[in-house]
Each structure stands twice: as structure tokens, then as C-alpha cells.
Amino acid sequence: MSKPEGTERGGQSNSDNSEEKDWAAVKALFDNAKTTKKPRPPKPSNAVTIAVSSRTLFNMVTERKVFEEEGLERYVAHQLELEDQPFTPGVSFPFVKALMNVNARLRELYPDSEELFDIVLVTNNHAQVGVRLINSINYYDLTIERFCMTGGESPVGYLKAYMTNLYLSKDSKKVQEAIEEGIAAATMFTCDSENELSDTQLRVAFDGDAVLFSDESEIIVKEHGLDTFFRHEKEFENKPLAKGPLKCFLEALGKLQRKFYAKNQRISCPIRTYLVTARSAASAGARVLKTLRSWGLEVDEALFLAGAPKGPLLQKIRPHIFFDDQMFHIEGAQELGTIAAHVPYGIGQKYHKGKRIDASEAEKK
């Protein structure tokens, strides 16, 4: 009864060869289909995969309320009643549209390349809500062909299975789980006022410490004060900082940027990155720039605020997303209409506005 090695057995992980065959078959299928004009989704291992949750992609605030007040059964029934009504855009929607625009530009320059953004919907929503989600994706004509509706199970395992480069969710617990598994992730919040954003250029802003870099220097500030921090940074100027949870995402963006540079499109590159740090250029800035250089990475603009509030500057930059580890900065950004995402990592989680929080308060449920 037992077959020779090479034959498939149900469920055992396919050999690479077998998966290559499957991929080739799917490619042929898409290329054959005369009816569809949609571009073929890229192979996950070549793409920059962005996983968004349903609540960040769409505004599900009222539905969420039904879930919290009336329970799961009523919530699903409610969604079914409204199945033909598309959701309104959520907080990661502008970011997703900007990603789609970059893909369009990449496809123009490199029609056969699979180094593209791949947007995946990963939600622990019940599959019955899926019909309304798919209807909404159709309504806005978003290029989201891959999704995972886990019906209540944790989505974190799926993030790895989809080779996710960045995960965005409203649930800080899931985001924390993802970061602990080594996946770049951030928590998003409903933003009331939003600035008008560019529809030709994706703009991503990053805080430095505990986002791109580890929190090692921030620990020094919190525990020993600013003066020690300045001395330390000067002394170790040439020692690269350790990497932080979003470093890989910056790296992925850089890789796509270079594809535009290679075709002489640096000026009109549809991706622009910003470093927005509370460090000051004079005393602590050099180490940051040298670290980036040692990693072979660049940011288009590095802005050193020397402790000044980030809100007004971000308002001018108008990023599609801004990553920071401290809620204080997130709130400051949001007050002036910037879409900000919290990275729950490092020593910053134990402090609020400079004061140490009690350990039990610091743990978010």
C-alpha cells in the first residue's frame, strides 16, 4: 500500500518541489483566464506581506458595540442583516490604498516581478461575516485576494504562515503576541480627524528608539536620566544599536524603493520614509544615523526633535502611518490628525508621560 516518496500523502508538508508545481499550476490558471483583468497575486515568499485586521481596514465601531453588549450570536446575525451594505473605510484604509498605488507603479516598471506588496486580511471574525467583508472589498475595488477568518482562534499562527512583514490590528493583545513572535506589528486606533493624504506617494514615519532600534538607550534615559543618556550615546556613537521590531519593515520598504531608483525614479519614488525621533541631532543623533548606515538602510528624512512634540511636524509630513512605542506621542500625533500606530514594545510600556506605571497597570489585557 505504501507509495514511493514523491507521491503526495494527505496533509504531510509537501516537498518544495510539489509546492513549486502547485505554484506553476496556479500561475498557468491565472494567465489562461481570459475573463479576469485583475493582476495575479504575488508569490508570498517574494512579496512584502501586509496583514490588516477587519476592524482597521473598515469602520466596524457600531458592530463591535453589538458584539460587546449583546454577544457573538447577535453580532453575527446583525452582520448578516447588513450583508449587502458595505462598511465605511477604517483607519488602515488610506495606507492600503497607498500600497495599491505603489504596486501599480511597480507593475508598470517591472511587469513580471513578484516583489510587490501583498495585502492580506487576517481577522478572528467568524466566516459568516466574511461575505460582508468580501462585498466591501469589492465595493472599494481593493486588491485583497487572500484572507484568513479564524472564527475566534488567534490569528498569530496564520501571520507566520503567510510570511507577514507587518501586522496591523486594533487589538493590542494580538499585536503584542505578534511582536513576541518576531513579526513587526502595531496597534491602530480610530482617528476622528484626518489630514488629507497624498494619493501618489506612500509615506511611512517611524520613531527611532524601541521601534526601529531596540529600547536599550531608552532604558538609560528612564533609569538614569538624560545626561547619562547623552554621555552614553556619544561614547558608543560607533556601536550600532540593536534592532527593534519595525526594522525589518523599513528594510522591506527600502528594497522596493531601490527598484524605483534603479529605473531612475528617485525623485518621483512613490515611497517615502521618515525618522521622527525625540533625540537631538547634536548629542544623540549620530549614533542613530550610523546604525542605519551599518544596516545598509536609509530613511529619506531624519527629523530630530530634541524633545519637542511630534504632532505639529507629523501634521506637515502627513504620513499614511506613523509608528511609535509611546502612547504619549501617539496621542499627540492623533490630536493633530495623524494616523498613528502603537508598537507595544520595550521599556516605554511601563511609563506614561515620564512616570513609572505600576507593573499590573502596565500589562494590557
Binding site: D22, G130, R146, F147, A161, Y162
Partner: protein, 276 residues
């Protein structure tokens, strides 16, 4: 094929003995009459857990799983070992059938099996082709949760309507391949209706039975169509996955299904060579 509303009577699933027990690593120590556990073990335990919960809710419940074991003609010694091992592990096996090699299909048909489960993809394919409902028994990792039975339906097969199945020829599928798709869809429907009824005995949370849809190559609209079709058949699917060609195995390793209905992907292997 009629819809059987409120079907009463067992949902019979046929397993092959070499999936239930591991015959390859038969130890040389012959003082044991018990065969080591095989790939189907977590499946059968999960099935028994569903039955227990169904009976808990309704003592007179008749829509329960019944597992029968089929085995090719083998020595009396092996037959004895099989029966002993089943007893030893406390497995609820309804019947045993021993058949000659060529008679697999007949054996399945004459026993009105509702599902033939096997880890051998070719056996599954052959059965589907002759109209017997068959699905892959997914190879479980040892640490899998034993008390939740997961069934994955193929969104690719279910999501295409009768008419659009014919249009698969545009994609390069042959007539035979399209016929197999259609046969598979009919089999899936019959099984889905029964599973739907069983699933309906439990609420959305804390159910020992979980239904899923996996669309491996179809578009998101094919997936939506599959969700709606399953709803019509009485299955409110719990989990849905749409891969658009992404590799299946990493996802399946997280989902950890027991029963996996094939999406016809192996049909497509030939496609890439055909279109050159």
C-alpha cells in the same frame, strides 16, 4: 439526489486500517498484540468526542458518527491484531470489512458509506471519480487538540456554480477533469448537509465540531459564493481561508483539519505543462 431534512441514522465514515494503525514500524517484539497508533488516531478520538457531546445534549440522538474499518485481505494474525488493538485503545469501531484489492470501490458502495477517508490522495481521487464521497485524512501532528473535529470544504469546488464549472475549460481544464469537479461537488453537498445538521446542534462557541472553507486558487468572489452556497446547504461555516495560490501547507499546519476535501489542485498540475 434528495435533500434529507432531519436525516436520522448514522453518518458512516470508512477508514483504512493502515491509517488507523501504524504498520510500517511494526516492532519485532511479538509479545504485543497491539498495533501502534497511526495517522487517523486524533481523528477517531475527535469523532468520539463529538458523539459524546451529541448524546449529552440528546440521549436519543441518532445522527451520530459511525466509523467502519476497511482492510485488504490479510492474514488471520493481522486480522486478530486489528480487532485486539481496536479493543485495547477503546475505539468505537462499528464494523470491520476485509476486501480483495480490486474491490475497494464495491465495498464502499455496498455499505452506503457517507465518507471515505484516506491519507492516499490517489485512492481518494479514484473514489470521487466513481461518485463515492471521499476526502483526505489530514496527517495530524502529535500535539494536536483532540476534542475538536475540523472539516474543511473546498471553496474552489463549491464556489463555482454548475454553469461556471463548464467554463473551467477556458482555464485549460479537460472534460474529464471538469466531470471530476462536478462529481466532487455533488459528494461534498451530501456530506455538507449532514455535517450542517450536526453542527447546528451546537452554538458558535465551544463546539466540538468546526467547519471551514478553503479556497486555494479561486478568487475572493469564488470564496464568497462558496460561503453562501454552504449556507444554503445548512452549513454556517466557522472559518474561511482564501489563498489565491499561496502555498497550502503552512496554512493547513495552523488550521490542523481532520477531514480535507480536495480542491482539485492536483488537476492543475498538468495545466502548466499543457500551456507552453
Amino acid at each position: 439526489m434528495e435533500d434529507k431534512k432531519n436525516y436520522s441514522g448514522p453518518l458512516m465514515i470508512a477508514l483504512q486500517y493502515n491509517d488507523l494503525f501504524d504498520l510500517d514500524s511494526t516492532s519485532t517484539s511479538t509479545n504485543t498484540d497491539v498495533l501502534p497508533k497511526g495517522r487517523a488516531f486524533t481523528f477517531i478520538k475527535a469523532v468520539q468526542a463529538v458523539n459524546e457531546r451529541l448524546v449529552e445534549q440528546n440521549k436519543t440522538e441518532s445522527l451520530l458518527f459511525e466509523v467502519i474499518l476497511i482492510a485488504k485481505e490479510c492474514s488471520e494474525e493481522i486480522k486478530m491484531k486489528i480487532v485486539e488493538s481496536v479493543k485495547h485503545y477503546g475505539l468505537e469501531i462499528g464494523k470491520f470489512f476485509f476486501y480483495k484489492k480490486e474491490e475497494l470501490i464495491n465495498t464502499l458502495q455496498s455499505n452506503k458509506v457517507k465518507l471515505f477517508l484516506s491519507t492516499e490522495r490517489d485512492d481518494v481521487y479514484e473514489a470521487l471519480h466513481t461518485g463515492i464521497p471521499a476526502a483526505l485524512l489530514y496527517d495530524q501532528a502529535d500535539d494536536h487538540v483532540l476534542n475538536r473535529l475540523k472539516v474543511i470544504f473546498s471553496g474552489d469546488v463549491i464556489g463555482f456554480s454548475e454553469d461556471s464549472l463548464d467554463s473551467l475549460s477556458d482555464f485549460g481544464f479537460s472534460e474529464t477533469q471538469i466531470q471530476t469537479f462536478k462529481a466532487a461537488k455533488i459528494c461534498m453537498k451530501e456530506f455538507a448537509v449532514l455535517i450542517g445538521q450536526m453542527r447546528g446542534r451546537f452554538g458558535k462557541e465551544n463546539s466540538p465540531l468546526c467547519t471551514c472553507v478553503l479556497t486555494s486558487w479561486g478568487s475572493r468572489n469564488v470564496c464568497a459564493s462558496a460561503l453562501k452556497t454552504l449556507r444554503e446547504w445548512g452549513v454556517d461555516v466557522d472559518e474561511a481561508f482564501c489563498l489565491a495560490g499561496a502555498p497550502c501547507s503552512p496554512i493547513l499546519a495552523v488550521v490542523k483539519p481532520h477531514i480535507l476535501w480536495d480542491g482539485g489542485l492536483h488537476n492543475m498540475r498538468d495545466l502548466s505543462t499543457q500551456c507552453q
